[in-house]
């Protein structure tokens, strides 16, 4: 559903260190497993060919890096709102997430700061797990405002 005239979401004043973000739960259905290589344009066989995955030592096909990027980015912007800009995203994959798993992504506000260039930045610590335990860790910076940032983009000065 599209919400016209969207609320801008989180304000800078509303950011609280230690706040937990609402969890994001996403089952890795066969449809999602089958469609994600096309949606990410990633035809590496570990993501669609179970025999290849077995030869890699994996029990089944597993979701790719870009899918997980999408999960992390959705988690933080679902919480903060679409007026925020993801300025940095760090992610480490500790173990793979397989078809049939259900992932749960969670986040907590670690810090808020105003940079030397007066950008307002919130850092979120992220964890993604399945029933088998922690699978992915991440760290994302969300920023307000964006226009100032765009104007000092390298090459755009």
């Amino acid at each position: 559903m599209i919400i016209a005239g969207v609320a801008k979401g989180l304000t800078w004043e509303g950011v609280k260190v230690g706040e937990q973000l609402p969890e994001l739960v996403l089952p890795i259905t066969r449809l999602r497993a089958a469609s994600h290589p096309a949606a990410t344009r990633d035809y590496f066989p570990g993501h669609h060919d179970v025999e290849y995955a077995h030869a890699q030592g994996q029990p089944d096909i597993y979701v790719n890096t870009m899918f997980l990027h999408g999960v992390l980015d959705r988690l933080v912007l679902d919480w903060a709102g679409p007026a925020w800009f993801i300025s940095r995203r760090k992610m480490a994959m500790l173990s793979s997430i397989y078809v049939g798993d259900t992932l749960t992504a969670s986040g907590v506000v670690r810090k808020r700061r105003v940079t030397e260039t007066e950008d307002r930045v919130v850092t979120i610590d992220i964890k993604v797990g399945t029933a088998d335990g922690l699978r992915v860790t991440g760290e994302t910076d969300l920023m307000l405002p964006w226009r100032h940032y765009y104007e000092r983009t390298p090459g755009n000065e």
Binding site: A4, L77, K90, Y149
Partner: protein
Amino acid sequence: MSEPTLVKGTYEEALKMVGHSTDVRFADVPIELGLIRAFTAMTEDANPTYWHKPTASELWDGLVAPPGLLTCLFMPMPWRPDGAVDRTVLGALVPLPGSTTINVSGEFTFFRPLRVGDWLNVVETVNSISPEKTTRLGVGHFVTTTAIYRDGEGGIVAEGISTMFRFDPAEAA
């Protein structure tokens, strides 16, 4: 799709590629609505700046793409009339013994939103290659590469640093 081609070689040969940069490589296609729809449907991402032009125009002066679409733009298509481009990422072109790869970690910095119509290009550089390591998956080397993503005017849109593991599996599952 068959197994992707990996350049085979020794660790000593691989080390000679540290500091090597690729030529400028353009994405197959510009950022367009179909790519955004497929990506956001995959993650069930209802962010209106990806879906709803009036909202996107109000907040970002036009429709934007999820940041995660960035690296997807540079993946090779499995077929094309002039022949499939048989490569994945720079780490696959580093000569190493490992017979397969898996991504391990990455950090991306974004300088502006990805916009519908952006036709981006990338230059990748081999940063470092670890000595032989043994992990749960097998024995191999960690390859770290950096990437700089620019728009058609040369402005830097994003930068990334990624680490992959080039390895021989310990035992087939």
